[in-house]
């Protein structure tokens, strides 16, 4: 297996993670912690697959995943932002709910051959560029999107005023509110759009990576996505880097299993969580000095008149 092939496989493995983790990043930057990533991805995966089965178009499936992820996120937003339920408890409930709901909806589609899948692009001459050709330009559009998204998000956070507002939302919502910027509305918007991204991440699994519908198709990727957000210290490019790193581990693991390599694949499975723990410890240490930690108001519902 060539290096090019390994890198290409790593990017493919990292794509569902990247969408989900960047979705979670957006939500956490707005000050909400959504532990229901796994559930939201599953909803997206099943919606995407069924959408493609019904319409015969993989892209209609992606759209269905986007919309259903957004709806699922909207429900989460109502519970945590408006009703101010505990975000951790609600998130865990949404994980379980998403898993159950997706199994129920998708029961008739298990093992059904897909009518449509997402195809790799043919960019002609670009596909023949050494290394970049097969690794990047030969991929499907969702992989390219996953590469582009962190760049756009990073620019958004760094250079736009709305990005500044987003960061302030997670740090000190009361400041944002006192300036007359609508905290509740914006938090809804970010939870919904972040959840839509998670839905797309799920759809990538059922429409391109596997591609078919099986129960619990995400197999823990939602949790890894949450870990990646912390690993990347809430910065889009770092989070994407983490996703690629894990994609690489995934690709290597695959190879290891094929080659009867002397490293236990379970050990490799554990690595992302171990890395996250390490980063958490470092973040906790540097938090006192200011810059690396998560949003200060993360996990706290905003209630203007609380005193």
């Amino acid at each position: 297996m060539s290096l090019e092939f390994l890198l290409a496989a790593a990017l493919i493995s990292s794509t569902p993670l990247a969408y989900a983790a960047l979705g979670e990043l957006v939500i956490e930057r707005a000050g909400i912690v959504n532990l229901g990533v796994e559930g939201t991805m599953l909803i997206g995966a099943v919606a995407g697959f069924i959408g493609a089965q019904i319409t015969g178009s993989a892209w209609a499936g992606v759209l269905a995943a986007l919309v259903c992820g957004a709806l699922f996120g909207g429900a989460f937003a109502m519970l945590t932002i408006t009703a101010r339920l505990d975000q951790v408890v609600a998130g865990l409930a949404f994980t379980v709910l998403g898993r159950g709901l997706s199994s129920y909806i998708g029961a008739g589609f298990v093992g059904v051959p897909p009518r449509a899948v997402i195809h790799k692009l043919n960019l002609g001459v670009l596909g023949h560029v050494p290394v970049l050709g097969p690794v990047i330009f030969g991929q499907d559009p969702l992989v390219l999107g996953a590469i582009l998204l962190p760049v756009l998000l990073s620019l958004y956070l760094r250079f736009t005023r709305m990005g500044l507002v987003l960061m302030a939302l997670g740090e000190t919502p009361e400041v944002v509110d006192s300036l007359g910027i609508p905290v509740i509305l914006l938090r809804y918007a970010y939870v919904i759009s972040g959840s839509a991204l998670m839905g797309v991440g799920g759809a990538y699994l059922s429409l391109a990576y596997i591609p078919s519908w099986i129960e619990n198709i995400t197999a823990g990727r939602g949790w890894i996505a949450i870990a990646l957000v912390i690993f990347g210290t809430w910065r889009p490019l770092w989070v994407f880097g983490g996703a690629v790193l894990f994609g690489l581990v995934d690709a290597v693991r695959f190879r290891v299993q094929l080659d009867n390599y002397p490293v236990d694949p379970h050990f490799l499975n554990m690595l992302p969580y171990l890395a996250t723990l390490l980063v958490l410890a470092l973040v906790a240490r540097s938090r006192a000095h200011g810059r690396l930690g998560g949003p200060a108001a993360l996990g706290a519902a905003y209630d203007r008149e609380r005193r």
Binding site: R161, M167, E174, L179, G180, R291
Partner: protein, 494 residues
């Protein structure tokens, strides 16, 4: 529409209730163009609430707000900002992890797509005009408190067309020199035709800077008029009120041995600024001593230092101990959180701190816990069940539970920080009697109180605190009210 003589802002009979307490009761305030209006009153008088209503942060229960004669939509920070109202809160509303420029960008660049990268000529001009000098590219958490305040004021002024600047206790974080600078800048701000509302309980500075004064007491406006119409002493009286000084009886004084002694104690507040400076005092057995003063002059910090939950910056405190444990009763001003764990039951709260003494030790038998709790509840007739979570209790019953626990072993020293704050009349009277009874029975009692009336009715001696120092001592049988009022507010007796 704008009629002649219409003030810039007019609050009309605003009322706001928080749970049981009426924070604002039919409050009406007018702010004329180009003037500094001071809103003064004790803590909890409703000054900040009224201004938060104006800033749209709270929704009024009733009443109206007019800006330039036009009705303002209530409860909308956005509409208030648009109407030209900018507020600098006592706890700054800045994003600490961003630079000064970012904070300004958040407030002023509405509708811009890109984030601001450098200052504009308008910002530079305004900084020069008002006389600000601080670096906008520094992160807020690295700025001094004075710089943060300047940033807040700058931001409020930059928001499109701010015509009214509200400052909530602006000098509480400033040194005397910085305060003087601030007042100079406020003068420059009003010179541009803008108005300023200054919330304060430091009367001296109010007389210095304000054109008009509004006095609030217990949620109501009790006086409003030009600053020249009242003397400092009258202001003090208006703030404290014409309350009848009670007929309660202090304990008969048979001065015993000193139980609590403070020597040159210095304590810092949460911001690291000096709160208590060089306080020396003594409380003897059988004596009830009250510390009086306007809130925020270091009483809370002093009581916390005595209670052992705030570190000393200097000096020493001699108090009764029993093997590493607190050997006296401490009743903090914050019931839930400091004295009681809100989500635990009353029974569990009642044994906190006692859980290692007999009969508990290693094994908490339910029977023992319950009977101990019942005793603590019944000691002062708290209306509560032992298994009930503490957070469900009213203020009076919370205080009864705390007293029931703290006074269980007849301590020789009782330190109580604002023990009757927020309580109804009957509960407050009961708690005062309990304190007096214990003093009469030989305990040394030290109470911080914001009500002079209360201090006079129960204390043998009254110490007046101002700006972290004890500035006067009075025996309660010689009430020199005029002096105490002045001392509390200015720190200087006539």
């Amino acid at each position: 529409m704008m009629t002649a003589g219409e003030p810039l802002v007019r609050l009309e009979r605003l009322s706001k209730r928080f749970g049981q307490s009426l924070a604002n009761d039919q409050v009406s305030i007018s702010v004329p163009h180009g003037k500094v209006v001071a809103v003064v009153g004790e803590n909890g008088a409703g000054k900040t609430t009224a201004m938060n209503l104006l800033a749209g942060l709270y929704m009024p229960d009733s009443g109206r707000i007019y800006v330039r004669g036009e009705l303002l939509r209530p409860g909308s920070p956005r509409d208030s900002v648009r109407a030209g109202i900018g507020m600098v809160h006592q706890h700054f509303k800045l994003v600490d992890t961003m630079t000064g420029l970012d904070n300004i960008s958040l407030a002023v660049d509405r509708g811009q797509i890109l984030r601001r990268r450098r200052t504009s000529p308008a910002i530079d001009a305004l900084m020069r005009e008002v006389g600000f000098s601080f670096d906008l590219d520094v992160y807020v958490w690295q700025m001094t408190l004075a710089a943060r305040q300047q940033l807040e004021i700058l931001r409020a002024l930059l928001s499109a067309g701010t015509h009214l600047l509200i400052l909530d206790e602006p000098t509480s974080v400033l040194s005397a020199l910085e305060s003087a600078e601030l007042f100079g800048r406020l003068r420059r701000i009003t010179a541009t035709g803008r108005s300023v509302v200054l919330i304060s309980h430091k009367l001296k500075e109010v007389l210095e800077i304000a054109d008009e004064v509004v006095v609030m007491r217990a949620g109501r406006v009790v006086h409003a008029g030009p600053i020249g119409s009242v003397t400092l002493f009258e202001l003090g009286r208006l703030i404290v009120g014409d309350r009848l000084f009670g007929t309660g009886r202090p304990p008969p004084q048979r001065p015993g041995r000193p139980v609590l002694r403070l020597d040159h104690v210095r304590v810092a507040n949460d911001l690291g600024l000096p709160a208590v400076e060089d306080v020396s005092l003594e409380v003897r057995a059988g004596e009830l001593v009250a510390i009086a003063g306007v809130s925020g002059n270091g009483q809370t910090e002093l009581m916390e230092a005595i209670g052992g939950i705030r570190e000393l910056r200097g000096g020493s405190i001699a108090k009764p101990h029993q093997q590493r444990h607190r050997g006296f009763a401490y009743i903090p001003s914050q019931h839930l959180g400091t004295a009681l764990a809100p989500n635990l039951s009353i029974a569990e709260n009642a044994i906190l701190g006692r859980h290692r003494s007999n009969p508990f030790r290693w094994w908490l038998r339910r029977r023992d816990v319950d009977s101990f709790a019942r005793a603590a509840i019944e000691r002062f007739d708290a209306k509560a069940q032992a298994r009930q979570p503490v957070r469900q209790l009213s203020g009076g019953n919370l205080q009864r539970v705390i007293l029931g626990r703290e006074l269980a072993e007849d301590p020789e020293l009782i330190v109580a920080s604002y023990p009757t704050r927020g309580l109804d009349v009957a509960s407050a009277a009961q708690i005062r009697n309990v304190l007096v009874d214990h003093a009469a029975a030989g305990a040394a009692v030290l109470v911080a109180s914001e009500e002079l009336e209360e201090s006079f009715s129960i204390a043998n001696r009254i110490l007046v605190m101002h700006r972290g120092r004890i500035v006067g001592e009075y025996r309660s049988d010689s009430p020199e009210l005029a002096n105490i009022g002045r001392l509390m507010t200015t720190g200087v007796a006539s």
